[in-house]
Amino acid sequence: MIERWLTPGLILLCVLAIFAACLLGSTAMPLERVLAAFFGGADVSDRLVVWTIRLPRALAAFLTGAALGISGAALQGLLRNPLAEPGVLGVSASASLTATFALYFGLVALNPWILPFAAITGALIATALLALAATRTQSVVTLILIGVGLSSFSGALMSLLMNLAPNPFSLSDMINWMLGSVANRSFDEIGLALPFIAGGAALLLVTRRGLSALTLGEEAASGVGLNLQRQRIWTVLGAGLATGGSVALAGAIGFVGIVAPHVIRPFVRHDPARSLIPSALLAGLILVVADIFVRILPSTNELKLGVVAALIGAPAFVWIAMQRRAGHD
């Protein structure tokens, strides 16, 4: 019963949250003025605030969360581990590294579009490496370890870049990127990330049935007729594209990809395939709501969305890890 209303309910909540994000802000805008801005009749400054500041920002938060939520749910199904996430496989870290790289060498000053392209390139390099590894190894543990290695290596290179930062301005640019934020995003930036997020999500949705079979373990999943290598490649590629798109849009935002599927799973009878869409919606909802809080908190420096996500998500991660019973490896 809950399962039937889960997806429609989440869609409704997401729409409400995005609408609320247009109402709330450093200066709250009354309902009738926001409605007027949407449906015509508002003055120019109201339309500007809603259409070029608040709405794109809320949509960017939603898309970032949805991409991370669906990638997390799919990777958890593939690796049969509730702690798997784009971060664990090093995809987010690699995407952040290439983005930081572009910032460090001032490439972004040449053309603002270089930044998102760099992030997507990094994610695709990481996923290509993982896809290559997936065709050679039978073992999930090996794949996770490769991801951990990739993540550490990207982290090290990122620290190196920050260590060598030529001036405080580029350092602060890089830090902004690493912390993750959807402030000042425009429809142009959304448009550039959306094809990758949508393409990746579509790939994950088309191949999701195999994730149900993987519940049995890899050998038994092959036994019931799953093409294991193909499943691995599609899932890794789909998650890589979606994650790359999300990093391009908002930088590195962690833990939503772990938390959302964990909350959703009991409502879809623990079937990884059925968890994808609700996980994407819930993760999107979480980031939209978190971003509203970031904006209305009366702090001198606006908090970064990634920081807030980690403050909530990291303890949840530890809690989920401690719930794991022995015997589930």
Binding site: R80, S212, A213, L216, G217, H270
Partner: protein
């Protein structure tokens, strides 16, 4: 006629020979039990025969077709395969795990078509799981879980079944129950190949015993012909004797 045939299968990995010219066949109506000590190559033989592992030489055919050429779902529709059990990744409901047996037929969990749902129901009834159908698998005993995996295999409604130690870690009563289930599957026209470690139980149920030692098949025939004290000492390295028609094992050699 779906006959599974392995012809001169060889398997060598990193210089270690796991299988040497292994040949056997499995047809509907047979309950074949594969015996041999740990490391004799039983699991390698099964995986190579199924086409999950490429042989170094030789080939396995299903109804005349090379099993390596079959798509995973084509193969799975004809041979249900139960590997040694691993813990399930998620605490799914029993009926959902059984429904995964219909995966090769294109079944999607939560949206089973009439044919798939009927096959799942039949398997649940056959394995006496009706009262557990909505239970979460992490609340089941070992014996119940073994029946769930059996039901999953039966739900496929394949002509052949291959199971690697389906009775591992079960008490005697549950071992009998699992083997009774498989026997009735064979009586209904299926063919089964099982790996077992309980020789007495194997002799009681098998129509044929295949004995493996160091990657080779050393004997293949009905229990009455292949189960001897000499064979036990040779294959398992235990001292054994026949006492009034019953086999007694005295200890390791």
């Amino acid at each position: 006629m779906t006959e599974l045939k392995a012809a001169d299968l060889m398997l060598a990995i990193d210089g270690a020979t796991l299988l040497q010219t292994a040949s056997f066949s499995l047809a509907p109506g047979e309950l074949v039990i594969l015996l041999g000590p740990n490391g004799a190559g039983k699991t390698s033989l099964i995986r190579t025969t199924l086409g999950l592992q490429a042989p170094s030489a030789g080939k396995a055919t299903l109804g005349g077709e090379d099993t390596r050429q079959l798509s995973p779902s084509e193969r799975a529709r004809q041979i249900a395969y139960l590997p040694q059990t691993r813990p399930l990744a998620w605490p799914n409901q029993v009926q959902d795990v059984v429904a995964l047996g219909r995966f090769s037929h294109g079944a999607t969990l939560g949206k089973l078509t009439g044919g798939d749902a009927a096959a799942v129901d039949r398997a649940i009834v056959a394995c006496d799981l009706t009262h557990l159908a909505h239970r979460s698998t992490d609340s089941l005993s070992g014996g119940e879980l073994a029946r769930v995996h059996c039901a999953r295999a039966f739900a496929t409604e394949a002509k052949l079944l291959i199971a690697d130690e389906p009775t591992a870690a079960l008490d005697p009563r549950h071992q009998f129950r699992i083997l009774d289930l498989i026997k009735s599957y064979v009586d209904d026209g299926g063919g089964a190949l099982l790996v077992l470690h309980d020789i007495e139980l194997a002799a009681r149920y098998a129509t044929r015993l295949i004995w493996m030692k160091e990657g080779r098949i050393v004997a293949d025939g009905p229990p009455s012909q292949t189960l001897t004290a000499e064979r036990l000492s040779d294959v398992y390295r235990v001292s054994a004797r026949m006492d009034a028609g019953r086999l007694i094992m005295d200890g390791a050699l």
